[in-house]
Structures are given as C-alpha cells and as structure tokens.
Symmetry: C3
Subunit: 467 residues, 3 copies
C-alpha cells in the first residue's frame, strides 16, 4: 500500500544521488582551489613555527581545543540527531537525515566562512575558525531542520542546508567583522538565525492539510527515551559549545562554569512549570526534552563575561520558564494564527530567547565595564571586548551594536528563509504528501511490524510462533 503511494514525485532514486554528487563535487573543487593547511596543521609551516617561536609540539592548538570540539561534535550528531527521534514513525529520518545534512554542512561551510575576512586564494585551514565553526554552522542548519522535521525530503533538506550555510557565513561576517558584535556561544548567529530561518521556511511550506498526518506526529514510549539521549548530551556538552571559541585561560573556564549554572537552573524551572501548566500536574516529556536546555541558549553570548554564578542561575531560571510556557501556549498559536508548523518547537528553545539573551548580554556588558573588569589590567578586558579595551568604543556603543546585530540577524533569517522556502516548493524535490508526513516508509526500507504504535494484533505468518 505505502509502496504504491510512494509515487513518482517522492521517489529519490536519481534525485538524491544527483544532488549528493553535485554538492560533493563542488565542495571538492572549492577545497582544491582555495584551501591549504594552516601553520598548526601543515608539516612545513608547523616546523617553521616550532623553530621560529621556540615552541614544542605540545603547544599545538590541537591539545587545547580538541576535547571541547569533540563535545560539540557529539552535540551535533548525537544530541540533535536523537533529540528528534521522539516521533514514533520518523526515527530513521530524524537521526539519519540529521547525519546527512550535518555532514554536508560540516564540510561545505568551512569554505564559505573563510572566504570573508580572509584572503581569497590560499586560504588557510585553521582549527578554531574552521572546524569548530563548521560544527556551529551545522548547528544552525539542524535547528532549522527541527522546524521542518518530517515534512521535507532529503533533497529539500540538502538544498536548504546549502543556502542556509551560505547565508550563515554572510550573516556571521556582517556581525563579527563589520559590526564588531560579540557572540562566542552563537546566540545570534546560530540560535536566532537558525530558528527564524527554519520557521520562515516552514511558514512558506505551510500545509493546511497536515492534520491528515496527525496520528504520526506524537511519540511512543521508547521513542521518547531515544530523544532523551539527545537531550542529555546536548545538556552535558553545552558548556563546551559556549566555550569552544572563547579566549584561552579564565575566559574559557568562566564560560563553562556560567553555562553549567544556567543549565542546572533551567532544568529545575522546566520541571516546575511543566507540572504547573498541566491540569493534572503531570510532567510532559516534550518540555523536559527541550526547555531544560534553554539555560545553555540564553547565556550563549554572555557566559564569557563576569556574569557571576547567581546571575547565570537567574538567567537560566527565566529561560526555562519562558521556554516551557512557549511550548504550552505559544506553539498552538503559531500554528493556528501564524500558520507556522514548528515540529520540534524550535521557536520556544532557540527563537524566543533572542531578546532575553541580548538583554542578558547588555546587562553583563554594563556590569563588566562598571564593575569587575574595571580595576584590573587592560589585558583581561581585551580578551572579551578588544574594541572597548583599546578605547575605540564605549560600553554603551557596544551594547547598541549588539542590539543592532540582533536586528540584522532577524532580517537575514526572515528574508533568507522566505526565499529558500519558496524555492523548496518545487514539486520535483520530492516533498511528502500531506497524508504521508512524519513517515519513514516514504524514503526508507522499514522492517515489517516495525514498531509499537503500528504492530499488527496477530501475526500468523510468524514462523516462530506457528511452530
């Protein structure tokens, strides 16, 4: 039955190989032309570095970034991948399309990011600005994936990733290089951008008849446990995410500590509000799986600063509160009023916290300048706000820049998402029909009797039981 419903339009036998090969070929050519090993990676350059600066092999940046990087890598592929397996019939698509588009974004983006702000030819492949940014960029794409989960073909997803990665690079260049905004944990460049981009794609691809797939939109017992694998890994490694590219030394340690405290506080807040908004006082797995992470998002930009542990906890509490309320009250409104079908509720976790985290940053900034940085040597301020430290900016001006950067990000995400969404409407890209959303059988060989919710009552052809 389903086999026959997998009509011409959704067959990917040629489309998917074609797009994969094309994207891979383009990436290989771009790398061959533009990218070279940098001085930490190239045998010749590193040995020159060793001699010139009297370094030892153990001073290589590798040893000071690799563990954090692997944590972030785990978040992208295990964290996001399993978080989305909560859907009862879309586990294969969740974890494996996540794998596909993250792997693509991971090695494609690198090129673009380095195009801007650096020389064009002979661009160097540096560890921090390249590999870690590659995962950050994948993160933004996966947030958007959360909004359109179950309603798109892998061909659409790869195209979305292609354009989103490009816009991510442009937006990041504007924010960090032109405006001089701070965004170590990617609150704006990753969360705000990824969420609103994905929401706009979802808006443009609005499906009035999505109710026909409603019976598959929920979870089953074990799919919720798989999703918890994703949640816990995201929660565990968020401190590494926020600190992966901050300055070495106290900055990195402080970012990690602040993020821990914020996450712990948002977890308690989420349990509290989840019970409170349920008529029977029962907890909801959707809230725990998502809103408990809000503490990591909200301090993304500010965790680097002298936020103080209790400041981080207050931020985390508020984030957990706002995010859980969003899942309970805002998601239905987005769907019915604004026609935005947000499968994973990315708006509540990644989008809605844009304003709080910006305010959080601005407060931290004022606090920083008037407070704890003031009496110390110049160097410690220069790590965080080089432009304030060298006197070319006031703290107020920096605060205004941060707010302006948020507006730019929203603009790029909304316009970009709308255009890309419009492009993805092309029928040949293999989108599922409204009756077949959230369904693995459309794109996957699925084992028969495949899971709980759809298990046949009797199974007479079972060779074991008839024996």
């Amino acid at each position: 039955l389903l086999g026959s419903m997998s009509s011409h339009a959704t067959r990917l036998r040629l489309k998917l190989p074609a797009i994969c090969c094309l994207l891979q070929l383009v990436t290989i050519i771009l790398f061959a032309v533009f990218i070279r090993y940098d001085q930490e990676t190239s045998a010749r350059l590193w040995h020159e570095e060793l001699t010139r600066h009297n370094k030892s092999n153990r001073d290589n940046e590798f040893y000071f970034r690799y563990p954090s990087f692997q944590d972030v890598h785990t978040m992208i592929f295990i964290g996001f991948g399993f978080l989305m397996t909560f859907l009862k019939r879309y586990g294969f698509g969740s974890v494996a399309f996540n794998f596909l588009i993250a792997a693509f974004a991971f090695h494609f983006q690198s090129h673009l990011l380095n195009r801007f702000g650096h020389s064009f030819f002979g661009c160097l492949l540096s560890w921090a600005s390249f590999m870690i940014n590659a995962d950050f960029c994948s993160g933004a794409v996966l947030i958007s994936f959360g909004a359109v989960l179950g309603k798109t073909s892998p061909v659409q997803l790869l195209l979305m990733a292609l354009f989103e990665v490009t816009l991510f690079g442009i937006n990041e260049y504007i924010l960090l290089s032109l405006i001089g905004a701070k965004d170590a944990g990617g609150s704006m460049t990753i969360h705000t951008f990824g969420a609103y981009f994905g929401l706009m794609v979802s808006r443009v691809l609005y499906r009035p008849q999505l109710d026909k797939s409603k019976q598959r939109e929920g979870s089953v017992y074990h799919s919720d446990l798989f999703a918890m694998i994703g949640t816990i890994y995201l929660w565990l490694f968020w401190p590494s995410f926020n600190s992966a590219i901050t300055a070495h030394g106290d900055d990195q340690l402080r970012t990690v500590m602040n993020t821990y405290f914020s996450l712990a506080a948002s977890t308690l807040a989420t349990f509290a509000i989840s019970a409170l908004v349920n008529e029977e006082g029962k907890l909801d797995m959707v809230h725990i799986q998502n809103a408990a992470l809000a503490g990591g998002v909200v301090v993304g930009t500010s965790a680097e600063m002298m936020l103080t542990p209790f400041g981080a906890m207050i931020a985390g509490c508020l984030a957990g509160l706002v995010s859980t309320l969003g899942f309970r009250f805002l998601t239905p409104i987005l769907d019915s009023r604004l026609k935005i079908q947000d499968t994973c509720g990315v708006h509540n976790l990644h989008g809605m916290l844009s304003l709080p985290h910006t305010e959080c940053l601005i407060l931290a900034l004022l606090w920083a300048v008037t407070g704890s940085y003031k009496t110390g040597p110049q160097g410690m301020m220069a790590d965080v706000f080089p432009l304030i430290a060298d006197g070319s900016r006031t703290a107020t001006y920096q605060g205004a820049c941060q707010f302006f950067a948020l507006l730019i990000t929203l603009g790029v995400a909304v316009v970009g998402g709308s255009l890309v969404g419009a492009g993805l409407k092309i029928r040949a890209l293999g989108a599922p029909p409204d009756t077949q959303c959230f369904e693995d059988q459309l794109y996957w060989e699925v084992p028969e009797n495949h899971h709980d919710g759809y298990l046949p009552a009797a199974n007479p052809e079972d060779p074991e039981r008839s024996a």
Copy 2:
C-alpha cells in the same frame, strides 16, 4: 482509569513547582551572598596570577581537568540515568528524575562543601574542589535514588537530595579535613555513604504491599538495552571518576590505569558467576548491568597508589564475584528478612564493597610505605600521603584512620538515612500508592499504547490500519 487513580495525594501540580522554586531561590541567595569566582576563573584574579607567576593562559587548570570532568558529568547524567531505565514502565521517571535531582544536587551542593574548611564569606568557586565535587555529590544522591527507585515522588526525591547533600558535605568534611583520610575516588564518601543512606531511607519507607506492583518491577527487551547504555558509559568513564581529583602527573595516570585493569577483571568475573549461579547456565542482564562495574568501586580509594596492574585485577575479580553473588543471594534476603526493598540492588554494587575497598586500601598503604615509595624522593609520597611524608603519621596510624573513617561514614549514613526517611513519610509529599509503584503514568503524560508489555492486543481506532 489510571488518571482517576492519580488522586489528590499524588498530584504534584502545586507541590513540585513550590519545592523547585524554593530550592532554586535558596540556592541563588546562597550563591549571591557567599560565592565568588576564584583565581582561575575571575578575569581580574587570573590576570594578576598570570603576571605574578609568569604563567600563560594555557596553564589554567581548565585544560588539565576539563576532559576528566566531562567524563564524570556524562556518568552522572547518562550513566546513572540510563542504567535505571531497565524498568519496563518507569523509563521516563528513571532518566528524568535522575536529571532533576542531579541538576539540583550539582548546583546546590557546591555551596555547602565550601562552607567547611574555608572562610565563610567570599568563598571562592574553584574548579577542582567545586565542580568535580559537585558531580561526586550528585553521584551519592543518585546511588540512594537507585534504592528507592519507582517508590517515591519527585518531591520526596528533591527533599532527600537536599538533606543528603548536606550530610554528604558534613561527612566529607569530617573524613578529609578532620580525620585526614584519603578517598580520591570517593569509595567511602560517595559509594558507602550513598548506598547505606538510600538503603535506610528504603527501610523506613518499607512497603509491605509492594507485591501489588510486582508485575511492573521487571524489564522488557528494549528497556534492558537502554540500561546497557548507562552501564557501558559508567564502565568507560570510571577511570576518569577515580582520577578526577587526584594529584597531577603520575598519580592521575596510575589511577586511570589501575581502574581500567580492575574494571576489565570484574567484567570477566561477572560473566563467569552470572552463568554459574543460574540453573540453566544462562546469563542475567541485571548482573552484567551492575556487577561489571564493581571493579571501579572497589579500587576507588586505592587506585591512586602503587597497586600494580595485577593487584588491580585481583581486586576487580573479587569485587565482580562478591557483587554478582550479592545480586543472586543477598537481595532477596534483604527484602524478606531486613525489609529493605532495594530496587536497583545498590547494596551489591556500592554498599557491600565498603569493607573490601577499605582493606584494599590498607594493604596498598602498607605495600606503598614498605615498598615502592620507600626509596624515592619525598615528593612522590607527599602527593598521596602528605601526613606520612612529613612524619606526622605512621602508615599504621593512617590505616586505622581509614578504618575509623569507614565507621563514621556508616554512622552518618544510617542515622541520617533513617531520619530523612522518617521525614519523607509525610503523606503530602505525593508518594505513589503500593499498587502504583514503578509506574510512569502517575507523574507523566505517557503516550498511549506506550510500550511492549502493555500494548493492547487490537487497535481498531488506528487510522492507518483501518484505512
């Protein structure tokens, strides 16, 4: 049916939010009043440190503790969390209540631990003594959680965590600061304390009618696989647990190596004994999930010393043997004779090994002093036993102190657990009735047809199948 059984007593709509908010508020206030960034975390102090001691940013303690810490963090939230999902209908509660109380204990404890032995105001937030101890303290609470799993409400669990964390801090202060005992891997402070505290709580909360929930106390096929995720992560990262706060250099490496060998040996022993004690020679998942970890527990205190690889293996073998026998023969006796209902069998893994690991330590100590440390310079002994190295103690006296520390720990755990258990009997705390233990539906929104063991035979309203 179940909805209506979730009567007034077990409704958490106001209770859970109230306790979460209260605990969070107290924590925030304590942090605001007492806790400051230390010299590795504060921008000003670290930059003074840099200047004064001619350090570089890469000398920050962060780079030498963070990877181990993240391993321990993974053990607490993934390891313990998934280990307990073996119950067929309590997977949500296992992983998510684990998440809740660990997140609470993680940021609450830090305060208390630093109250003792340090100045009261302006206490510094240091990485090793604070963050890693925070996870250790969570570990003790989670061991106790294992004893009462499925028989307590989240409100009870948070209260238990609150008091256990406090007593943990007091006990640790007595052991490490007053008695001068060694306990790098927390054999006494974490395992012995957590186990006997939880067992006493379980004893006081004894349910004579627990048989009415017997049908839910077992596992289903996939819940045992989820539990194996927890087991393997605990097993993998136990070397990081035991070495997280040992001295830098050879100590940390030696602790890691000894723990590996002990764990590998306890794994073989567990498989051997599990087959031997079963009438048909079949292996039992409960043994593999738990007793294979005994090798990590047993060398918790002694792994730091010159235990030698073969010594570590012998300790691991014996631990696996004792622990598996405990699961097979002792747990039923504890239940029927001593009225201790130990859901996860924490006595067999964490409690019963108290005496062996203390003996193991004392032997290692004598060996150390008479053996391998003797001929070396003073420094290497001072890392492990500063009081012996500076001549203020003999090895025998240190051994007696270790044994005395064990008795103290047992005392604090038993008395503390009894009192806290008595407090948790208050009906308003929402404990499940005897007929509804090990059941997620009491506190959770559970998807219909939710899992294997309770799947309805036929499912006529299924829109897919009726189509």
Copy 3:
C-alpha cells in the same frame, strides 16, 4: 519450549565460568611476572624523570593522550557494541558479548604486544604503546566478531579472542618492527587483519542450514535506532582513532582533520549510492549504519600525511561508494558462492578497503616525498617516515614495504582464521544449532513478551489490563 531446546551442548553453566577464570588467571600471572609501571606511571620513576629533565607534572603524557584514548575506548564499547544491536533478537548478545570479549582482549593483549620488540622481563606498562594498542587490538577482535555474530557461543568468542589477540601481536610486530611499515590508524593491523580473520572463521564454521534462523536475521524498528547509536559514535570518534598514536603536534592535528573530511565525504556518497541501488529509491539503514564509516577506514594509514583536505574527500567518496556497493552486491555472492556468512558485512567496511587504503597511502607517500615535505627541515619528515628521513630508505622502497605488509597481513589473517575456525568446531564449545542462531534466549534470561517482533497478540494474564 526454548528452554528445553537449550540442550546439554549449549549449556554454559560450567564452561563459561571455567574459561573466564582460566583466562583471567593466566592474565594475572603474566602481568605479575612481566609487567611493571613505566616512567610516566610509577611514582619513583616519574619523580626521577621530573628531577632529571626539569619537567612539571603537567608534562605527563597523560594530558596529551587521555582525551583521544577515551574517544577510542568509547568506540570499542559503545560504538561496536551498539552497532551490532541491529538484530531483532540478539541485542543482549551483541552489546554484552562485545563487552565481554573487548574487556578480555583489552587487558590480555597488552602483555603480548609488549613481549615483542622489548625486553622480556620487567616490561614497562606505557600509556601509548600499551593502553591505546589494547583498544586497537580489541577493535580487531570485534571486527571478527561482526562476521560471526549470532552464530557463536561466548565460550567460542573468548577462545577466538585469545588466539586472535596473539596473532594480532605477532602480525603487528612483523609489520611495524621487522618490515618498518607505517600504520598509525591500523588500516592493515586492525581492519584488514580483523576482517579476513573473522571471514575465515565464518567460512570454516559455514552453516548450510542457516536459513532456518533467517526470520531472526533482520532488524526491527527500534533495534535499528540502537544500532545508529553505535554508528554515530564510531563516526564521531574515528578521527581520535586514527590520530591516537601519531606523533604529537601537526601530525596529530592533520590526521584528525583529514579523517573528518574523509568521513563527511563517505557519508554523502553512502546516501547517494544507497538510494541509487534500491529499485524504489529508498534508503537502507544497513548502508547508513556501516558504509558511512568507510571514510575513516580508508585513510587509516594515510591520514597522517599531507593528504590535503580535498584528497581526503576524494578518498572518502570512493570508500563510501565501494562499501555501499559491496553491501548491495557482494555480500550475497560471498554467501552463495564462497560460503562466507558475514552477519554484519565486515568485508564491505573493513576488508574490501584494504587495497584502496594501501594505494591511498602509497600515493600520499609519493606526494609527500616529492611534494610538501621536501623543502622543509628534516624533522617534519622524520615524524612520519623516520627511515626515509635518515636516508636508509627511498620512498619507492617504503611503498613496496607497505604493499608487502598488506600481503603478510592477509596471509596471517587467512591462515590464522582457518586454524582457529577449525578449533572452534569442537562441539563442547556450545555453539548454537542452526535453528537457534541470532537468538538471545539460548544464552540469556530474556524477559517475557520481550520485543516487538515476538509479542503475543493477546495477553490475558496481564494483571493491569484484567483489572
């Protein structure tokens, strides 16, 4: 029914304990006689090292190897363990026998590896050459396990591990010490050796009647998701695997980067080919779970070199292509023509890539010598090819050595695997009958109603539902 079928031959009540105890005893004795802590681990030797070389505790090798090592450790126990849980009724055996034989191989091998090339008595237990090699050796055994998965008893598996570990040590000694071949990522010593050893064991143990267990050879929906946990972890940490024992500095960073790019490319290629070879254009989980990893295997030996990022991508693409085609077309032929029943298809991932990775290495080698290393100082070449750097070998000669090393490895694996397979035919070792392959109930206490595919239609004795 099944209980009674678990006849005398497959009962392990005495056999499994006997073999476990024997192997453990031998290991303990070997360690007691031969193994001592090395200068990084021993308190005395390390403190002498500190004094003599003016080192600090933070220069201990531990800090520069431990994070990579833990990644590799995770691959062995979580990665391989869960990858094999795809079988619907063999999840316990997959993850737990993986655990057993890896734990055994992990601590047994260490001895052997150090027998060759070092002094016999007082052999030192060094971190890099011992612990990391221990995991590498386990990896080879687990690859062989993949070929015989579900068709062997744990007693057979332990014996296979015993002999394979021994031969692994001999082969590695020949390759690295006698021939002077390079194999940092273990392409030959681990992948080629493990795969062909396992395939030969499977060939010798050929079961003409395996069709009788055919209904259990597939997956169910959730077992495929468990397998994806394994896949993603293998994919994530493969860069650590390939770089775990390369030289410090640029070598290690370059290995990591090249492996990332190769893996990302093989993922895209796998999705492309998986859709292309399916008549309906549907993706196959078997391909994604396995072939996406081919990029890590193929650059195992060459990732250390100046492969360039685009070179790594091309290698990864080809590996994903070849591996996916192997799963689709070669595995059935191996079974029907060559009578090799390869449960996990290890030939496609680990075996078949032997020739490509050797060619890849030889090309990289020529490129290296004629290209990027040439103009630099001697030191940077010496890290990778000491024998070429000091002039005792030409690049061509080294290339010939690599090819010769591959032939040796194939020889040792094929001859060794055949002999060991013949030994494993002994009936007393408890192999499952042809009708009971891929079945946990033979060796495990399995909970009733245990999983999807075998759930009874109605469940009248369920106390909950009859209430």
